[in-house]
């Protein structure tokens, strides 16, 4: 059973979605600001929900699948809010908050249980390792959504079928910039997270588990996103092809976050 603060955050995410969706239909300055405020409120409530969960379980909030997914949603919200404030662009707010609401609802339905704490999974380094990696996945998720919006907008522009939403979503240039920004955040977080993970593991066991599928796929993720950043600046790739690469890269992240985490890895398993 989720903490009341978790429910509160879900309600606030939904309210924020309603505001963002409304401004897609009919722009309204104060409604847009209200959407941002509600999102900020949802993130704050979500933060305290995670904190409360840590206090209750006497461990990190991402100790199990539920906590990990909840942290993912929180970091996705934080990263989006940062990008929205940086670019002063609310055009994709409806899409991101819809994803957050769906994620939070899915969380309650499909991952309500809590796993048993593992004695080794503790300490500040471990906390940083997991938080940074989750943040990286959240930033990649954001870039994925932005790239999808880019592809749809590009297709509409080419087909000349311009509906109301076409005029409301951000311009292609900005979408590309925001997606690239998300990937930079994700790559930086992942690099730090992986490095900290290696240090933590070395302190713990004196070696590195190179053969662990999670390690292999994480290094693969670093590689494909680095390739995206290079390609997105190259002739013949920038634009919709780069957006497609970014979107496809996220499938690798999804594979890592679900199949690898749940079934393939030994010590990155959440339950």
């Amino acid at each position: 059973m989720a903490h009341p603060l978790q429910w509160l955050s879900l309600v606030l995410y939904a309210a924020s979605f309603a505001c963002y969706a409304r401004i897609l239909y009919a722009p309204h300055q104060w409604l847009g600001r209200l959407g941002t405020l509600l999102l900020a409120g949802a993130i704050a409530a979500h933060y305290f929900a995670l904190l409360e969960r840590s206090r209750l379980t006497h461990t990190v909030p991402y100790d199990d699948l539920y906590g990990s997914m909840s942290l993912f949603a929180w970091l996705l919200g934080v990263t989006y809010l940062g990008l929205e404030l940086l670019h002063r662009q609310r055009g994709v707010g409806a899409v991101i908050t819809a994803l957050l609401v769906a994620w939070m609802v899915g969380l309650e339905i499909f991952a309500p249980g809590s796993g048993s704490p593992r004695p080794l999974a503790s300490g500040a380094l471990f906390a940083f390792h997991v938080t940074l990696n989750t943040w990286a996945y959240a930033a990649f998720a954001l870039s994925f959504v932005l790239s999808l919006v880019y592809l749809v907008q590009d297709a509409l522009l080419r087909s000349r079928r311009l509906g109301a939403a076409f005029w409301r979503f951000p311009p292609l240039d900005l979408l590309e910039g925001m997606a690239r920004g998300g990937v930079w955040v994700g790559l930086a977080a992942l690099c730090c997270g992986v490095t900290i993970g290696f240090v933590w593991e070395h302190r713990l066991s004196g070696g590195f588990a190179w053969a662990d599928p999670k390690v292999v796929i994480t290094l693969g993720i670093l590689g494909v996103y680095a390739a995206y950043l290079v390609l997105s600046r190259r002739s013949g790739w920038r634009g919709s092809r780069a957006a497609l690469v970014c979107a496809l890269n996220f499938l690798v992240v999804l594979f890592s976050y679900t199949v690898v985490n749940l079934y393939m890895t030994q010590f990155h398993r959440f339950f």
């Binding site: 009919a26 722009p27 309204h28 300055q29 907008q153 522009l157 080419r158 000349r160 311009l162 109301a164 076409f166 005029w167 951000p170 311009p171 292609l172 240039d173 900005l174 190259r234 002739s235 013949g236 790739w237 920038r238 634009g239 919709s240 092809r241």
Partner: protein, 437 residues
Amino acid sequence: MPTVTNSKIQVALIGCSHHTAPVELRERVSFTQQQALNAAAELRRRGILEEAVVLSTCNRSELYGVTVSTGGVVTEAMEGFLTDFHRIPRTELDGKLYRRMGQDAVRHLYRVTAGLDSMMLGEAEILGQVKSAYGQALDHGATGPVLNRVFQGALEVGKRVRAETEVGTRPMSVAFAGVKLAERVFGNLKGHRALIVGAGGVAEQVVEHLRNRGIGNLHVVNRSFERGAELAGRMNAEAIDWGSLERVLSMPDIIVTSVSGTEAVLTRTMLERAIDERKGRPVFVVDLGVPRNVAPEAAALYNLYLYNIDDLGQIVEQNKKAREAEIPRAEAIVSEHLAKFESWRAALEAGSIVDDLRKHFHTQREQLLREHLACGNDLSLEERERMARFSEDLINRVLDQPAERMRTGRGMRGRLGAVEALRHIFGLDEPRDEGQE
């Protein structure tokens, strides 16, 4: 400043617009900025209006005012003033002028400011024109509490309609549609470059829109260098000779072509080479030429967005329909603000009606006292004074409760209805003799 708080407030309007008068007549009844101010001052000086604003644009000339007279009289006087001011025989304006009073006048102004009465639905310029006309009248003391309220409300309506509906958002001309589409690719045009191929009329419109949207760098290339240089000079752009067209093609992010000729000016090969030189950065091409200036097969090039005049025409048509579909939402905003104004007017009227009633009762009381005292000579002075005091107290007591209810009662609409009913019941609407007061 004249006050209107002690009488029934009426907003009056007379005017003509593209709906009612041809341009030949509209230009004869238009006002320059100075004339508008003089006319507003004169309307007040002659006592026709207590507050006045003259709105004059290329599509309409309208006189707005506040009066305490009845509708027909004041609009008649305003019409007389308009014909005198412009020295136009009254018969020439027969059937060309519209007259509105009260709510209808306010609603008309709100609709005008929202762009709902414009020749091009939702056009943006009218909001600035209303703002300017009101601002000047305000600066010269021609407005008062009522017109200030009316015009501030109108400006709010104009802003809300443009912000909350699609009435004014989507481009309605081919030239503007091209520029707006370019913004969908590049966002802010400030740091971007545009190349105009040809110096025709439509190209000039595009240049103007690009300049208004803050394009960073603008070049014009034309077969006749002189003509291109002339357009470039007017638009603060740089002219390039025709022979350099292919060489400079990799430079712009936006290319607009409007050249007469039977063969394509820009071929697929030329554009492919330009994109390569640009390292794949996108190019937005607007082809306004008929026959087309850009080879149609260039549309398949990666990161090249090509729109010809038919594509843009279709978008304009879609946008027109989208704007029309938004009219009910815009009208709802107009009605919402009209209700707000009526509430405010009701509050103002509620104060004045009690004063009017008090005056009315006192007049009746004095008349009654005079009649009774004239035939009751046997009353002592003390009794007469007591009778006068009693009648005065009676009036005050009778009016205390309605005054309180008018001031604090709920529902402005209901209060306004009550005010109108009281005016009607006690005959306060009817013109009174000066002597009676």
